[in-house]
Symmetry: C2
Subunit: 558 residues, 2 copies
C-alpha cells in the first residue's frame, strides 16, 4: 500500500479557523493577531493576564542518538499532544519552527509527519509569520551597522580581524561559508574575512528563544559580543548602541505563534535555535504560554538527549525558572540497529540481535535522565519497515529493565496511535516523584561544568582542552564570563565527539577544541570538532521538485 505524502495528508485535512482554536484556550480577542486565517501571533499581554494561573505539566520529548534521517521526535511530539487530547486532557504542543534552508535542501518540510503534523504545513515550512526573516534582518542589520562603524572612523577601535559576529542567511548556501567583504576601494568599506551562518545558528535566534520579554530581549541584545578591539577587549552591542533598533526589528518575532495539528490540538510553534552551537529548544515564551493555556505541555529539544535535553535541562529551565514533569525518550528499531552495528543501507532488514545490542545507547540516555531526577517513558516510534518481533523484543527489553515504555504509531494513526503512550506518560507523572536537579552549579568553573556533562551525560572517561581553549578559558574568566552555563557543540550521531562511535562508547576522551562566547544568549559554546553552521545543498535539492499552481496550492513539500 502506498502511503500518502505529508503534504497530501496536510492539504486534505479539515482545518479550523485559528480564532476557534484560540477561543477554546481562553485567549481573548485582543490577545491574538491573525496572520491569515490559520496562523496567529499571541500577545505577551496574555502571559501578564495569566501570571497567577497554575502552570500545566511540561513533558519534554527527546531521543536516542539519531540516524541522519531522524527518529520522528517531532512526529511523536505532535502525536502525543493529539493523544492527550483524545484522552480528554487539555494539551498544548510547544515546538520549534522550521528553517527554509533544510526545507529547500533535503527535508522538504519539518512540521511532524504522517497523521501527526502541524498545519498549515506549507506556511509553517515556508515563511510562516516571518520570525526567521526578522532574525535574519536583525542579525544582518547588526553586521551592516558594525561595518559602518568601522568605515566611519572606528571610534571603538574594533579590530576587523577579530570580529566574531557573522552574517546569516536562512538558506543552505555553502558558497557563503567563507567570504571576503568590503572590496572595491575606500568608498566600499574595509575589506575583511566574514562568514555566513544559517539563520537558526544566529545568537539572536538563541536570544529570542531565551528572552522573558521585550526588556530582557533588549538587555540580551546589548550583551552580545561582536568581536574584540585592537587591545583585545570585547566589544558589545550595548557599547555600540544598536540594541534598540535590533529589538525594534524583533518586536513581533518575539510573540509566539499559534497553529493547530491535523486533529486540532493547539500548537505553539516559536523559535528554532541549532541544537549544537545553541540550545536547540523552542522559545521560553512559547513554552510558558503553553503552560498557562494547557494542563499538559508537550515540547521537544533538538537531536538526542545528550544534546537537546541536556541543554533544555541546564540552560532553558534556568532561564525560565521552571522544571519539566516528565521526559519521553523516543527510540526506533532502525536507530538501535545502527547502534548495534548494522550498516545504514541495511537498516530495513530485521535484526533483533543487533537491535538489542544497540539498546545500550538507549540505556545510557535513560540513565542520564534518571540522574536529572526526572520520571521518563520510552516511546518506541514505529516505522512501517519494523518487524513485529523487533518491536516485541524492544518492549520486552524495556520491561526486563523496568523502563516504562509504550509503542507509538502516531505517524500512521495520529493521536489514536499514541493513546497507550499518553496513558503511560500520565501514569508516570502521577506515580513518580519528580526530584529534578541540575547536574552542575553555575558557580562551577567552565572546565568543571564541561567535565560534569561529559562524564555524566556522555559517559566520557576524560575531557581534554586544546591549547587554544585553555587560553580562552583564562581570557573568559578575566571577562567575568565563567558563571554562565555551557552549551556543548558536538556531533548528534554519537554520545562521544566522534560520529563513528555508535552504541554506548565508554573509554573515550572528549576534546574541547575552542570556545565561543554567546553572552547575549547567556552561555559559553564549547566546540568539539568541526561543527557545520551553514549547510550545503545536495546534488538534487528538494527545491527542484517544488512549485505552486495557479490557485496558489503548493507542490513538492513532502
Amino acid at each position: 500500500m502506498k502511503h500518502k505524502s505529508d503534504i497530501e495528508i496536510a492539504q486534505e485535512a479539515v482545518i479550523k479557523p485559528i480564532r476557534e482554536i484560540a477561543g477554546q484556550l481562553d485567549i481573548l480577542e485582543d490577545e491574538i493577531e491573525q496572520y491569515g486565517k490559520y496562523k496567529a501571533k499571541l500577545s505577551l499581554d496574555l502571559l501578564k493576564r495569566k501570571q497567577d494561573a497554575p502552570d500545566g505539566k511540561i513533558i519534554l520529548v527527546t531521543a536516542i542518538n539519531p540516524t541522519p534521517a531522524g527518529e520522528g521526535k517531532s512526529t511523536v511530539t505532535v502525536g502525543l499532544g493529539q493523544a492527550l487530547n483524545l484522552l480528554g486532557k487539555k494539551a498544548v504542543i510547544a515546538m520549534r519552527e522550521p528553517s527554509l534552508g533544510p526545507t529547500m535542501g533535503i527535508k522538504g518540510g519539518a512540521a511532524g509527519g504522517g497523521y501527526s503534523q502541524v498545519i498549515p504545513m506549507e506556511d509553517i515550512n515556508l515563511h510562516f509569520t516571518g520570525d526567521l526573516h526578522a532574525i535574519t534582518a536583525a542579525n544582518n542589520a547588526l553586521s551592516a551597522l558594525l561595518d559602518n562603524h568601522i568605515h566611519q572612523g572606528n571610534e571603538k577601535g574594533i579590530d576587523p580581524r577579530r570580529i566574531t559576529w557573522k552574517r546569516v542567511m536562512d538558506l543552505n548556501d555553502r558558497a557563503l561559508r567563507n567570504v571576503i567583504v568590503g572590496l572595491g576601494g575606500p568608498v566600499n568599506g574595509t575589506p575583511r574575512e566574514d562568514h555566513f551562518d544559517i539563520t537558526v545558528a544566529s545568537e539572536i535566534m538563541a536570544i529570542l528563544c531565551l528572552a522573558s520579554g521585550l526588556d530582557d530581549l533588549k538587555k540580551r541584545l546589548a550583551d552580545i559580543v561582536v568581536g574584540f578591539t585592537y587591545s583585545k577587549e570585547p566589544v558589545t552591542v550595548g557599547e555600540l548602541g544598536f540594541q534598540g533598533a535590533l529589538a525594534l526589528l524583533l518586536k513581533d518575532a518575539l510573540k509566539p505563534n499559534l497553529v493547530q495539528t491535523l486533529e486540532h490540538t493547539p500548537a505553539i510553534i516559536h523559535g528554532g535555535p541549532f541544537a549544537n552551537i545553541a540550545h536547540g529548544c523552542n522559545s521560553l515564551l512559547g513554552t510558558k504560554m503553553a503552560a498557562k493555556l494547557g494542563d499538559y505541555v508537550v515540547t521537544e529539544a533538538g537531536f538526542g538527549a545528550d544534546l537537546g535535553a541536556e541543554k533544555f535541562l541546564h540552560i532553558k529551565t534556568r532561564a525560565g525558572g521552571f522544571e519539566p514533569a516528565a521526559v519521553v525518550i523516543v527510540a526506533t528499531v532502525r536507530a538501535l540497529k545502527m547502534h548495534g552495528g548494522v550498516k545504514k543501507d541495511q537498516l530495513q532488514e530485521p535484526d533483533k540481535e543487533a537491535m538489542l545490542a544497540g539498546a545500550s545507547n538507549l540505556a545510557k540516555h535513560i540513565e542520564s535522565i534518571q540522574q536529572f531526577g526526572l520520571p521518563y517513558t520510552v516511546a518506541i516510534n514505529r516505522f512501517t519497515s519494523d518487524a513485529d518481533e523487533e518491536i516485541e523484543a524492544l518492549l520486552d527489553w524495556c520491561a526486563a529493565h523496568s523502563h516504562p515504555a509504550a509503542l507509538s504509531e502516531v505517524w500512521e494513526k495520529g493521536g489514536a496511535g499514541g493513546m497507550e503512550l499518553a496513558e503511560k506518560v500520565i501514569q508516570t507523572i502521577a506515580e513518580n516523584k519528580n526530584q529534578f536537579s541540575h547536574l552542575y552549579d553555575l558557580a562551577d568553573s567552565i572546565e568543571a561544568k564541561v567535565e560534569k556533562v561529559a562524564k555524566t551525560v556522555y559517559g566520557a572517561k576524560a575531557v581534554e582542552f586544546s591549547s587554544k581553549a585553555k587560553k580562552q578559558l583564562k581570557e573568559y574568566d578575566g571577562y567575568g564570563w565563567s558563571n554562565l552555563p555551557v552549551c556543548m557543540a558536538k556531533t548528534q550521531y554519537s554520545l562521544s565527539d566522534q560520529p563513528e562511535l555508535i552504541g554506548r562508547p565508554e573509554d573515550f576522551t572528549l576534546t574541547i577544541r575552542e570556545l565561543k562566547p554567546s553572552i547575549g544568549a547567556g552561555f559559553i559554546v564549547c566546540l568539539t570538532g568541526d561543527i557545520m553552521t551553514m549547510p550545503g545543498l545536495p546534488k538534487k535539492p528538494a527545491a527542484l521538485g517544488m512549485s505552486v499552481n495557479a490557485d496558489g496550492k503548493a507542490a513538492g513539500l513532502f
Copy 2:
C-alpha cells in the same frame, strides 16, 4: 510652533480594523487575509470576481527632479486620496512599500508624512507583511541553487566569471557591494566575485510588480537570465528548473496589501522596485485591484517624471494594458530654487527670482506629460519654510502658462489641505480629452527607443553608446531581446545624466555606458553613469535612535 513627528501623529491616530475598511470596499470575507488587526493581504480571486466591473480612473502622481530630501510625492499621493474621499469620491491609493535599508539608514520611514500618512506606519516601515523578505529569500535561493549547480558538476557549463545574478539584502550595507564567495577549499564551493544589491533592486522585485498572476510570475521567473555559459550563451532560470521553488516562495508576496490612511482612506501598498535600474512603480496587481475597488486610484512612480513616470507610461501600462486618466506633477518651492541655482544649504531663504528661473525644470516635465497626450495638474506641495510670496509667484507662473495648478497643504492639514487639488484633478479629467500614446514602439530598435526617451523626455541633444554598450546591442539583438522596452538608469537629480546640470539642460549628450538584461521583468536596463544599487549607511544611521518600549511601542521612526 513645534510640529509633531510623523510617528507621533501616526501613533495618536484612531485606526479602524482592516476588516471594516475591506467591508466598505465590497471585499468578501474570504478575499482578505489579516496580518494582525490593521493589515491584510487581498486574494487574487478578488480580481477574478471583479473582472467585468468597470475600472476606476488612474491618477499618476509624479514630480520634478527632486532635492536629495524628496519633494513629498508620497505625502501628496496620500493627501490627494484623502481629499478625494472628503469630496465624496470613492478613492483608493496604490503605493509602493518601503525598504528596510533606507528606513534604518537616513529616512526613518517612508509612508507619507505629517497628516497624510498610511498606517500602521511602524509595521509598514519594518517587516509589513513580509513581501520584501520573501523576495530576498527567493533572490538568494536562486543564488544558492546556482552556486550549488556549479559546485555539483556545472552541467550547463555556466562561466562563474559571467554570472550576472547578484545576491541581495534589504539593508544599506556597503561592505556587501563587492565580495568574494566560495572560499575555503573544494567543499565550500567555487570561489568567484559576487555582489549584493539592496532587495528593491532585485529583478524579482520588478517581476513581482509586473506579473499579472501566479502563472505569469512563474513564466517571468523562468525567463530570468542568470549569466552566460563558457560559450557566451545566456542561461535562464527555466533551463535550470528553479522557477517552481521561487514562485512557491513568492506566492503570498504576490498578493497586494491593504492598509488605511490617517483618515481611513483605503491604501493598497504593494511592491517597490528601484526607479533607476527598475521601473519604480507599485505592483500592477495592486493598481488593478485598486481600480476595481475605487472610482479613482491615486498612484505614484519613483523620482521625477523623467524616470518613474516615463517608465510607468512605457513599461507598466504596456504590461497591464491600461492607461492613466491624468497626471499630477508635484513641485516644491525649495526644489525649484535649487534648479534656479540656490545652494542646498540656503533653500530655506526666500528667493522668488531663483525659483522662477528654476521653473524651467517644471516646464520640461509638463511638456513631457503633454507629449504623452495626458491631462495634468501641477501640485505645489507647501513646506513650512516657503514664503507666501514664493507660493503666489509660482501659482502666477502656472496661471500665466495656462497650467492647471493647486496648492497642496496635505502634510499639515491632511485631506482638507488637498481639496482644491482634488477638485482641480477631477475637473482636468472631466474637461481634457485623454489622448494617451506611447512615445516609442516596441518594434523600434533599442537605440531608437533610448534616443526617443532621451530627446523627448530628457531634452538631450544626442545619445552616445559606449563601445561596451554597442557590443551588447549586437549581442542582445542576436538573443532576440530587441523588442523589449528600455528601462533607463539615470541620476534623479537632473534631466540629464549629469547630476550637476540643474534646471532645464539642453545642449547635452546622454551617454549609455552599459546594458543589463532584465528579461524576466521584461525590459533592457540602459545604464548612464554609475548607478548605486546598494546604498551605504551614514555616519549616524537612523537605527541608532530607534527602540521599542516594554509595551511594544516603536520609537525613533520619524
